[in-house]
């Protein structure tokens, strides 16, 4: 028979303290983003213009300096530039067929890091985040609770979540509640 769950007394500010112990959740610095679509024939030309090779395998990401390309679909990538260097001028000169839209201000980045980072994200994300299934550098469009996110593992215990700006508050709140649960377990 299932054990009844009692109520727990939770001290004021316990959320903040708990989150600091095992997991840190903070907004990422502003960066430039491009939503990119390109058929296979155009990938080489677009990669050259961006200065970063567009990965062709599922869940793979590629980086060169501050610029990173995240595989989202067979012909779709999210390209981030964390140094603030514009990407569209270079892409405008590419003759090969492609579509590039600046979505820098559509998204918000959240960095989740620390020992319990994967557990915190798994509170709302149904994907297998073990290191064998979601290795360092892996990225994927997926869900976090009720919202769609792009998840990118930048280190063994550090993830970047990209969500739409209007969902950022929801994502942040969900992660903080999850961090409280993870650190108290």
């Amino acid at each position: 028979m299932a054990e009844p769950i009692g109520t727990l007394r939770r001290p004021a500010l316990s959320d903040k303290r708990a989150a600091r112990d095992t997991v840190s959740i903070k907004a990422a610095d502003p960066c430039l983003r491009v939503a990119l679509r390109a058929p296979r024939e155009s990938v080489a030309a677009v990669s050259t213009a961006l200065g970063v090779a567009l990965p062709s395998r599922p869940k793979m990401s590629g980086s060169d300096g501050a610029r990173s390309a995240l595989w989202l679909g067979p012909d779709e990538w999210l390209v981030l530039d964390q140094a603030g260097n514009e990407m569209l001028p270079a892409l405008a000169k590419v003759d090969a067929f492609h579509s590039a839209v600046d979505v820098s201000h559509r998204n918000v980045g959240i960095i989740v890091s620390g020992r319990g980072a994967a557990d915190v994200i798994n509170a709302g994300c149904p994907q297998d985040l073990s290191l064998t299934a979601f290795h360092v550098g892996a990225c994927s469009r997926t869900l976090l609770g009720k919202i769609e996110i792009v998840l990118w593992r930048i280190a063994e215990d550090e993830f970047r979540i990209e969500c739409w700006r209007s969902f950022a508050d929801y994502a942040d709140s969900l992660l903080r509640v999850a961090a409280r649960d993870v650190s108290s377990s």
Binding site: G73, P74, R141, L143
Partner: protein
């Protein structure tokens, strides 16, 4: 939670990332002007809905966002196989032609 294999992501992913998109392998007629109302109704509304293996379109909407086809058993709810859009319908035991 069901795990559904996405043929584009090449791995089993949680069902929450997917959306069902109706019967697969429906061919849109090229001569709609010449069709009778009854024929058009058959194309637009009438579906097979058999008991057993069915062929369906699914979309990995919160993943790679691609449409693909799946063969699913309506009795057991097991996915028999999934394959990319545009690929021919596989021959499967228990499936209607």
């Amino acid at each position: 939670m069901l795990l559904i294999r996405c043929p584009y992501c090449e791995e089993d992913r949680p069902e929450l990332e997917f959306r069902h998109a109706g019967e697969a392998h429906l061919v849109r007629p090229s001569n709609m002007d010449a069709m009778s109302d009854a024929e058009f109704e058959r194309f637009l509304f009438i579906r097979q809905n058999p008991k057993g293996v069915v062929f369906e379109r699914w979309r990995h909407v919160h993943g790679c966002a691609r449409f693909f086809n799946a063969a699913r058993d309506t009795i057991t709810d097991k996915f028999v196989t999934t394959y990319k859009a545009g690929e021919p319908k596989p021959t499967l035991e228990g499936a209607e032609e």
